[in-house]
């Protein structure tokens, strides 16, 4: 059977999916990145092989997320796309007349506005990460509630408490304050969901023309409290796709499918890469006062990629000359 692999290496989670020729999901793996993107990709590949028992022939690979470059070097992906485009592609594939995509991931949140099947506007959070997955995780842990149940608590509330949502630190102190005053946990959680939605709409969604159909994706879409708070604030039905947590990876796989159709081949290195030894080393370039920390990616002791330099002089792999004496 033929399939296309999509890999989304994000700050918090690393997701891998295989889709078939019709764009249907065949297998998915959702892992925590834990600051080790290479290991996460390798582990994910192993799990995919187990899930599919090696019966799927990979015809093309696409990567996305903040670790997209790294993942493409390891797997030989032909398509390397930013997460805004991949999320939009995946949403469009599922719901062709979608006009708004709300996406909240581990450390970033974005809004994508589409009209007639193309992206017309987008925004990502810039100065604030309040309301993203990491913050909700942290609050769930603090309240001793499993994150999976966090949202259902919110639905039980009848009188939500107003929580400041402008900043994660203020939101937390506000929540603690409300707890000390004796408010119900359910009401506080619902209040928090509303505050985060308010913050999202006033910050990332500022000035954006939000029209239905609205799709909500990313890890946080699993939180039914957040979904309800969005519906309440927008007055539209909010659709959470079945595979909302891996939409970026699905989009990357869909784009890989298109690219392979155009190009006719893939540079996929095979599932064996999960057994290859990768090593990362870094050095500080002394060419100018920027002192960039340059990263080397080694595969079996050979440098296969290098980045982190502001002036691009190290990107070229032939440049193995001494690390000094080179000026920008």
């Amino acid at each position: 059977m033929k399939g296309y692999l999509g890999i989304d290496v994000g700050s918090v989670s690393t997701n891998l999916v295989i889709i078939d020729d019709d764009g249907q999901l065949l297998s998915k793996v959702y892992l925590r990145t834990r600051g080790q993107p290479i290991k996460a990709v390798q582990d994910g590949m192993k799990q995919l092989v187990e899930n599919t028992q090696g019966e799927i022939e990979i015809m093309g690979v696409g990567t996305t997320g903040s670790g997209r470059q790294l993942a493409s070097v390891i797997t030989g992906a032909g398509t390397v796309k930013n997460e805004i485009t991949t999320h939009a592609v995946a949403a469009l594939n599922l719901i062709p007349d979608v006009q708004t995509v709300l996406e909240i991931g581990g450390q970033d949140s974005k809004i994508i506005i589409l009209r007639d099947g193309i992206v017309t506007d987008f925004a990502m959070n810039t100065v604030c990460a309040a309301g993203t997955g990491s913050f909700l995780d942290q609050q769930a842990a603090r309240l001793n509630i499993p994150i999976e149940e966090f949202g259902s608590y919110a639905l039980k509330s009848k009188t939500p408490v107003r929580i400041a949502g402008r900043c994660a630190v203020f939101a937390e102190s506000d929540m603690i304050h409300k707890q000390q005053m004796g408010y119900n946990l359910e009401d506080i959680i619902r209040g928090l969901c509303q505050a985060l939605v308010r913050n999202y709409l006033n910050n990332v969604g500022k000035g954006k023309d939000i029209q239905p159909k609205v799709v909500f994706q990313g890890g946080v879409a699993a939180n039914i409290g957040m979904k309800a708070a969005f519906e309440e604030a927008l007055g539209y039905e909010v659709i959470v796709p079945q595979h909302h947590d891996v939409m970026g990876a699905i989009g990357a796989a869909l784009l890989a499918k298109d690219e392979v159709a155009r190009k006719g081949f893939t540079a996929f290195k095979g599932f064996d890469v999960s057994n290859v030894k990768y090593r990362v080393s870094s050095f500080e370039c002394k060419g100018c006062p920027n002192r960039c920390e340059v990263i080397n990616i080694h595969m079996d002791e050979k440098v296969i990629a290098r980045w982190g330099d502001r002036c691009n002089k190290w990107k070229n792999l032939d440049n193995n000359s001494s690390h000094q004496g080179y000026s920008c």
Binding site: S66, K81, N82, E83, I84, T85, D116, I118, V119, T120, D121, F122, M124, T126, V127, G207, C288, P289, N290, R291, R310, N312, K315, N316
Partner: protein
Amino acid sequence: MKITYPYVGNSHIVIKNLLERFGNEVVVPPKPSKRTLSYGTQFAPEFACVPFKILLGTYIEALEMGADTIVSTGGVGPCRAGLYTTLQEEILKDLGYDFQMITLEPPGHYLKDLIAQIKKLINRKMSIREFWSIIRFVWEQLKLFDETELMSFKIRPLEIKKGETTRVYREMVDLIASAQTVKELREIRHEVNKRFENIEIKENYDPIKVGIVGEVYVVLEPFANLEIEETLGELGVYVERSMFLTHYTINNAVTDLFHIKGEKNVKKAAVPYFNEMCGGHGRESVGHTILYAKKGFDGVIHLSPFTCIPEIVAKSILPAVSKDYNISVLSISLDEQTGKAGLRTRLEAFVDLLDKKRQKFKERMA
């Protein structure tokens, strides 16, 4: 007297020539780097904008290199830049540096003061004729820098070998910097043209066109905008910038002297949205966006320093312009962050958006 001044784009070379020919010893400010920014953020007020921080850091670096005089421009507000030199002088003196600050105010407002300040910068005897020949040389040099940069914007999206344009551009900047006479500049101009013509380019490729608008420092200094023009060019985008050093000089010195409102057409274009001046380049950002839309550009990128009031005003007006003129606008707020990855993600997505939009438009026309 050892003079130093702010670092913006390639202007440091021109200013060095000017000041040296006026009989001064010059400490050329170092190109802004992470070190500059860490000095700046350490000693500037937390919510000062990134240009303030970079300039403050630059002054500290230059004072450490032995400068004892700083020359910079003032302004008449309401943008905070008009007060930069005063505040920076206070901060640096508190840090224990001993130096003189020379502030050049716009001539239309404070001509007498300006002449007095300029006199301080001329430290040798020269004839009027000599004076004008110096002015002519530095002006020609500044013009050639701008022309060369403009050429790099045109060629970069078309280049076949990634990074070649940037390499040639940097070589040409060094070459222009080495010129001593107007005649040499003329020869170098030929060389620049030849070198850019020799870059191998894609045929029949119509690049996405993006205009860059916003606050002057972050638009003009690549360090402040994380080399956005280079990044876009290498993504295959033709970039045009609303401001160049030569325009800036004319608009802020020459036209101001004769009380002519600079960039008349830009301001006029902005009027339906923005009738009052709000300082800085807020109104110009709106005006230029409209002009780019009229010129058929695919999109506009709006750069603003985090906490910059004039650009915040512009930012809140731009969605209306974007809707009325059907031009996509991406607003980017810059501060002391040095992470290029987040910016790159947004730029890639923006270029994807523009590309799809253009395809769709073509399909409709066909």
